[in-house]
């Protein structure tokens, strides 16, 4: 099976970078180093910080326009469509923010993207609040603010803790606290079932089993301990014996 012409797109000569890859390259060209372990959110934050501080520099605006053009053009020959880890709504919001920054009067006073991303989280919060009936509890205004421990809840939306989003809203403190409490109550319990076969168990059961096994190979500080001679890309590993 040879690749078909429509696999590539007419005239395509390169694999197009994802939006995150494009922004990384832009930051790099502008002397702003990103760590390889920076996530998409950090890359976006860094982009808008860069825009805010350097929009007035000679040549920066032109480079930013080029980046914008590449992002808007988009849709090229990505390695795989699933490689684009920013949702379309996020990309659209970012494009709007960059366009505003490029307007003569558009000072990039902190990017609006985060605020935009709060919208789905806020909707979620309000829905939860409604279903939980917290507004019916008269004394709920006395609920103390969420603790630091609560802020570490695993509820994530777009890579941010939902509880962070709660704290960033303009809701009254009592409502923030109530929402946080409800969210904490929704956390999934640790699963401890013993499993032995991938084929017959649920993913949750399997992962619990694997994690127990992994205790033998992981350090307590989370660093993986030595594995066996597992094959590594660009290397070779030989089985201990023939099957």
């Amino acid at each position: 099976m040879k690749p078909e012409k429509n696999d590539v797109g007419a005239g395509a000569a390169y694999l197009k970078p994802t939006v995150v890859q494009g922004i990384r390259a832009f930051l790099d060209e502008n002397g702003i180093a990103s760590k390889p372990w920076d996530g998409a959110r950090e890359i976006l934050d860094r982009l808008f910080a860069c825009i805010g501080s350097r929009i007035g520099e000679p040549g920066f605006r032109e480079r930013l326009e080029t980046l914008l053009g590449e992002i808007v053009e988009g849709g090229g020959f990505l390695p795989t469509p699933e490689a684009e880890i920013l949702r379309q709504a996020e990309v659209s919001a970012m494009i709007g923010d960059i366009e505003r920054a490029l307007r003569p009067e558009g000072a990039a006073s902190g990017h609006g993207l985060l605020e935009r991303l709060q919208a789905p989280a806020l909707c979620c919060m309000l829905l939860i609040a409604m279903t939980a009936g917290c507004d019916a509890e008269k004394d709920s205004r006395q609920v103390p603010p969420p603790s630091a421990k609560a802020a570490a809840s695993p509820f994530d939306v777009n890579g941010k803790s939902v509880l962070d989003y709660v704290q960033r809203t303009n809701l009254p403190d009592w409502m923030k606290a109530k929402l946080s409490e409800r969210l904490r109550g929704m956390a999934s319990p640790e699963r401890k079932e013993i499993i032995d076969l991938f084929r017959t168990k649920t993913p949750e059961e399997i992962v619990a089993h694997l994690e127990r096994m992994a205790e033998a190979v992981y350090r307590k500080d989370g660093i993986p301990a030595l594995s066996s001679d597992a094959p590594v890309y660009k290397g070779i590993s030989f089985p201990a014996r023939r099957a």
Binding site: M1, P3, E4, V8, A12, Y14, L15, T18, V20, Q21, S34, K35, P36, W37, G39, A40, R41, E42, I43, F77, P79, T80, E82, E84, I85, D156, N158, G159, L197, F198, R199, P203, I206, V207, L210, E211, A214, V217, R219, G222, I223, P224, A225, L226, S227, S228, D229, A230, P231, V232, Y233, K234, G235, I236, S237, F238, P239, A240, R242, A243
Partner: protein, 356 residues
């Protein structure tokens, strides 16, 4: 057992290569002007042994194009490090195999990326008239198999060779290597610049696995998958290796934890397939020991932050173990290390939800 050390090291001892493979992540070809000298390389051999390295793969480029490769192999083997050679096969003559054996090399792996037409289409000779790289690679495999030496064959799976993997396996079964190791081609290096679609789509992983299982059932050639194929399906134990070998399920990327990559100029990375952003230091500027000891330089694994996972991976039941699969593949595909479309578990779940 719990000590962090570079048990497995992939060392690209030269960037020189007589092939110009379309998928080469290292974009190998010419020898880099700043490659380590023999003296520096021998010092590095000692440093690796001192750090507790158990096995080193001498790779490239084409490692046999570096004249002092037997010296390096001998030094490593003499210090108790298991040495393997990873070669394109074009220079693996019977003499070279004898040299390798005499130097203490215990295993040789030859790259073979398809049947003749496909392999020769991917692995282009740098010079005209060099003959068929496929013919030379197959001859090299036969030479190594005939020697008292472990022989492996490494295949990059891509959209061109996917339909012929069964035939490739049959070819290997007739030759008899000790292992067939398969890995996915990654969009890095020269591969980012090829004009034709080359990478498989994630949903084609199912097809890959079906083929691998057929090979496993046949059993004539042991099969292994590298760290960029998986993860977490009922097929995992079958393709990841035996439990008693400790590799039967994916436990997350080991780069910078038990794996280390070294480039020909002395750059150190957690894994050789990682891009330049991951360079943690250079052995000319500081000791390998100092580079390795600074865990922060390998923070993508030593200080893994699961809260940064995005998309499907953020909600996956296996996220704490898997950590988005192969770091290099995730980064080269998406631009971040926190989401990886090349996961069979993900493919299946999304397909059940009506998504590709």
């Amino acid at each position: 057992m719990n000590e962090r050390r570079p048990a497995t090291v992939i060392w690209e001892i030269t960037n020189a290569c007589d092939l110009r493979c379309l998928h080469c992540e290292s974009a190998a070809g010419l020898r880099e002007p700043d490659e380590l000298s023999t003296g520096e390389a021998l010092e590095l051999c000692d440093a690796l042994a001192d750090l507790g390295c158990e096995r080193t793969n001498l790779s490239g480029g084409e490692p046999l194009l570096r004249a002092d490769w037997p010296l390096l192999a001998k030094r490593l083997a003499g210090r108790g490090v298991t040495v393997h050679l990873v070669t394109n096969g074009t220079h693996l003559s019977p003499d070279a195999v004898r040299q390798a054996r005499d130097a203490g090399v215990v295993g040789i792996a030859v790259s073979l990326d398809g049947l003749r037409e496909t392999h020769d289409r991917i692995r282009l000779p740098a010079a005209a008239g060099a003959g068929s790289p496929f013919e030379r690679a197959v001859a090299a495999i036969r030479t190594s198999v005939g020697a008292p030496m472990k022989t492996g064959v490494i295949t990059h799976i891509n959209r061109w060779n996917l339909p012929e993997l069964d035939a490739l396996y049959a070819l290997l079964a007739g030759i008899g290597p000790d292992v067939w190791q398969v890995q996915l081609a990654m969009p890095a290096g020269r591969l980012r610049k090829i004009a034709e679609a080359y990478l498989i789509r994630p949903d084609q992983l199912e097809e890959v696995y079906a083929c691998l299982l057929r090979c496993l059932e046949d059993g004539r050639v042991p099969l292994r998958v590298t760290d960029n194929i998986g993860y977490y399906t009922e097929l995992e134990p079958a393709v990841r290796g035996r439990w008693d070998e400790g590799a039967s399920f994916w436990r997350g990327c080991q780069a910078g934890c038990s794996v280390l990559g070294i480039e020909s100029n002395g750059n150190v990375k957690g894994c050789p397939s990682m891009s330049r952003e991951f360079v943690a230091g250079n052995v000319r500027k500081e000791t390998l020991s100092a580079i390795w000891a600074d865990e922060a330089r390998f923070a993508y694994n030593t200080r893994w932050d699961g809260s940064k996972l995005t998309g499907f991976c953020a909600g996956c039941a296996y996220r704490r173990l898997c950590r988005a699969g192969c770091t290099s593949l995730a980064f080269s595909v998406t631009g971040a290390i926190y989401e990886n479309p090349y996961c069979l578990h993900r493919v299946r779940i999304l397909r059940e939800g009506g998504k590709r």
